[in-house]
Amino acid sequence: MNEESEARIARVAKTTRKERAVLTPPSAREKLGFAAVWDRVTPRSAMGRRVKFRAKPFLPGMEDDLDKEFDALETIVGLWSESPQIFTEFMGILSNSKDPFYAITLLNDGKPLPHAEMFIVAHLCFTVNRVLALMTDEKLIGQTAVLWPEKVVPPSLYEVEKHLLLGSQGQPTFYVSDGYSEQLASVRKERKQKEKELREEMAKEAAKAEELIGRRPGLREEIAIRRRDYDTIEKARLMPELAETRETLTHVHFKLKPTRDAVKIEREINRLRQKESELEEQVLIDLSKKVAEHLPEIQRAAKAIGELDFLICKAELAKTMNGVRPRIVRIAWEPHAGKPDQDGESSKTPVPLKVCEAVHPLVKEEVEARGGKYQPISMEVDSTVSVITGPNMGGKTVALATIGLCATMVQWGLMAPCGYIEMGLYDFIHFQAQEEETPGLSSFAAEIVSLKQPLSRLDERGLILLDEVGRGTNPSQGLSLCAALLSFYLENDRTSSHVIVTTHYHGLADMLQVPHWQVRGLTTDLSLDSPQKEFAEISDTWANGTDGIQWLYRHMDYSLQKVGPDTPTPHDALLIARVLGINKEIIEKAEFFYKASQRNGEVKI
């Protein structure tokens, strides 16, 4: 088996693996915000749109490919800030480019190209020339030799161009000109000569008609003579040069009658036209064959232009989102080499996930639109299971989505919107957000059904993001279920998967002895014991409770900090309910129940 076929088998293996969903459940794409981010990658050319359409995520084992992709992306981003003008020009060229896909399909099938497709191939040559000229333009990119990423440099199509651009100057146009066939040229010349003869022949007739009607009629023109001009009509009827065509209420119509010679010449012209048409057909067939010889270059060129377009879009996205290149950590253990060792030793190579100053671009836009200041988050995941706790309205779910989105973007070859990111590639990313109502399933049932997906993929490396697992049932059983699930992962993880769970359950991190992260939370002196006056100040400006929300936005520190496993879960629910405007009596009663339950675990009214 040679190298090429081995590589091919490896490629096939990769493609079959890709068929398993990378983002689960299907709603995760939407909920992480990845769908909206991916929609912002909008290639300008049909070739670029094709490349985007085929883009697949990078999976474990493809680290080298991904690094190459980021090398290319980094080069583009760098060049862009150095010589922005070149990219303005690229964008213009790409927007004006034509879609060569149909032409390529025809060439592939060995069919001749019709005129429009010939033009499109000629236009591709033109586009390639302009792109290549820009890539090497010393005035634009400076004296330093630039190494453009290999995949965006199209091969020169000079060999194709030289066939297609006969007779067109500078601009790409296509016409079966005389230069393509000597025979065609001579037939055309002959036909034109005959046409000239015909005109001369008919001009004699037209001159006679001119004497009669006072102006020279066109060759195929109908001459209308008013009925009351009896003399003229009679004369016209007597002229051998004119033929009567029709009569109406008011006019009699005539046409120039071709002479016998003219008829002969016309017949000759028709014969020549037919011949000409056949020869032109033949030119197209021969030309298509010549073009088809260079099909691989044409395909490569179209691909390269598409890749350039797609990379420019990714670079644009990176610029608008302040994206950084991730550090991709290789996973020593190859999860698909076969069953992992039963003793689990060789598989436990921990690969940490580090994100610093990560931003969820969509949430950031929303926060800034309402005049708030967005707070990035940082987190270092070095254990199979991590727990995030925090107050209500503290952004736990957003933190989870931010980490998930950054990782997803990296896997799809996009720069991640954060200050620093280090990760190993995952086989799948599971984001279990709070599901909307599913008909026929309670929220608890929907959650359990959804959990089966990551649990069925234990031999794959996953990033499993769980938002408040078990919240849909009674707290004690919910906590037990959650704890059991996490400890199952602690015991059974052989792939260095990461499970991050947000929870309100007290003591979960302590119970499992896993890292515990907490949202810093409310930064205020306000407590339930604060005098009514202070709440009244907030409530004075209330309108439908939205000012309470504004107050929370201002007083919440959304950043994450690592705390000890036994650090208590924040108990700010009552305070937040109070700020949001629930009646004072209800809050007081709730506080009474809460304190009683803390003392003896039971509540009696």
Partner: protein, 379 residues
């Protein structure tokens, strides 16, 4: 305003015209060249009125004066057999050097004679639109894009490629070709098929010219507000305020189905600006609701007014259209043949009776009339 009133206006307008007549030796192509228009729509008042005859006449006359033409249609046109009636129709035979835009699906053999210079990506029912230069003069069929936006883009492209003037063939009920967004000026075509007799044809034509010549409002302040209003793309009212007029946008995108609600809000307004279609129902509602004689309806342009008879209200536009001339075709496929001289004269009289005198031509017989046309019209 009633028809009587407008006729009275026409009488008034005719007087100064008698003093200063247009040079009568001029023909249609002179008018077009003098107008300085870079794009010209040829609009038919009905199918088979001889619009293509006018097109062909302009093509041969203008190119014989050394102009490079650009040709495009706002629908399907130029077919050898009319697709609607099955009657023979003249096709367009542009001279070599002419820039054309048409769908690839209708090019056929003619493709051999065109140097292709651009292909548009969007595919219509007849395939992609192709821009090219006629290498040799052969008959071709013109099929253009349906929307004013695309049409306007292609007109710009044809000019950029080197056409001196672009002629846009407006198809049946596709007046959008004449929208000031697309073309600088328009020529209106009518013919024997447009009415039972000369009287009916002339009246119909008078109405069309009246409609397409709707002017801007007299008051500069109202003009400025109306311009702002059509950009907002919502129906707006213009009310009188202490220091002039104010614009009051109301939450309707269209007048369709909202006639009464809009007019209820309009109680003391002086004008309603409609960015979309102005319908017969709407102008009728305005006529019966509004008592204030000053109250007027302002449309974006004349092609967005869809009325079939003269409304009894004042109608203005934000972007006025320049109608250069009218052409008539005295014969129809049904072998009706009117007297060219009489038809031209009647139409010219009727048009100036409606208050907008225009030169009228029969491009086949060479008959023409400049009745009521003053030199000022050409400015």
């Amino acid at each position: 305003m009633t028809q009587e009133k407008s006729r009275a206006c026409g009488e008034k307008n005719r007087k100064p015209a008698e003093k200063k007549h247009q040079d009568k030796s001029k023909d249609l192509s002179d008018l077009v060249i003098e107008s300085g228009a870079r794009s010209l729509a040829v609009i038919g008042t009905a199918k088979n009125v001889g619009k293509t005859v006018t097109m062909n006449y302009l093509v041969s006359e203008l190119s014989s004066r050394g102009m490079t033409l650009g040709l495009i249609s706002s629908g399907r046109d130029g077919e050898i057999i009319d697709v609607l009636t099955g009657e023979p129709k003249p096709s367009v035979t542009p001279p070599a050097g002419t820039w054309i835009a048409t769908a690839e699906g209708v090019l056929g053999e003619a493709a051999m004679n065109i140097e292709i210079a651009d292909v548009f990506e969007r595919t219509g029912i007849f395939g992609r639109i192709i821009i090219g230069r006629m290498v040799e003069s052969v008959p071709i069929e013109l099929v253009g894009p349906p929307t004013a936006k695309e049409l306007s883009l292609i007109v710009k492209n044809l000019l950029a490629f080197g056409a001196d003037i672009v002629l846009v063939d407006g198809a049946l009920d596709r007046k959008s070709a004449a929208s000031p967004q697309v073309t600088d000026a328009a020529i209106l075509s009518t013919g024997a098929v447009a009415g039972r007799n000369i009287r009916a044809i002339a009246e119909e034509m008078g109405f069309w010219v009246w409609l397409l010549s709707r002017p801007q409002h007299d008051d500069e302040r109202i003009r400025a507000l109306a311009r702002k209003a059509v950009e907002k793309e919502t129906v707006c009212l213009i009310r009188r305020s202490a220091d002039g007029f104010t614009l009051d946008p109301i939450p309707y995108v269209t007048v369709l189905g909202n006639e009464d609600d809009i007019l209820e809000l309009a109680d003391d307004a002086v004008a309603v600006v409609v960015p979309g279609a102005v319908t017969q129902e709407f102008v009728e509602a305005v006529w019966s609701w509004v008592e204030d004689e000053e109250f007027c309806v302002i449309a974006r342009d004349a092609v967005s007014i869809f009325v079939d008879k003269m409304p009894g209200i004042s109608l203005y536009v934000v972007y006025p259209m320049r109608v250069l001339a009218a052409t008539v075709n005295p014969s129809s496929f049904a072998d009706v043949q009117h007297d060219s001289e009489e038809l031209v004269r009647e139409i010219a009289e009727e048009i100036s009776r409606w208050g907008h005198p225009l030169p009228v031509f029969d491009v086949v017989s060479g008959e023409k009339s400049f009745k009521g046309v003053s030199g000022l019209v050409m400015g």
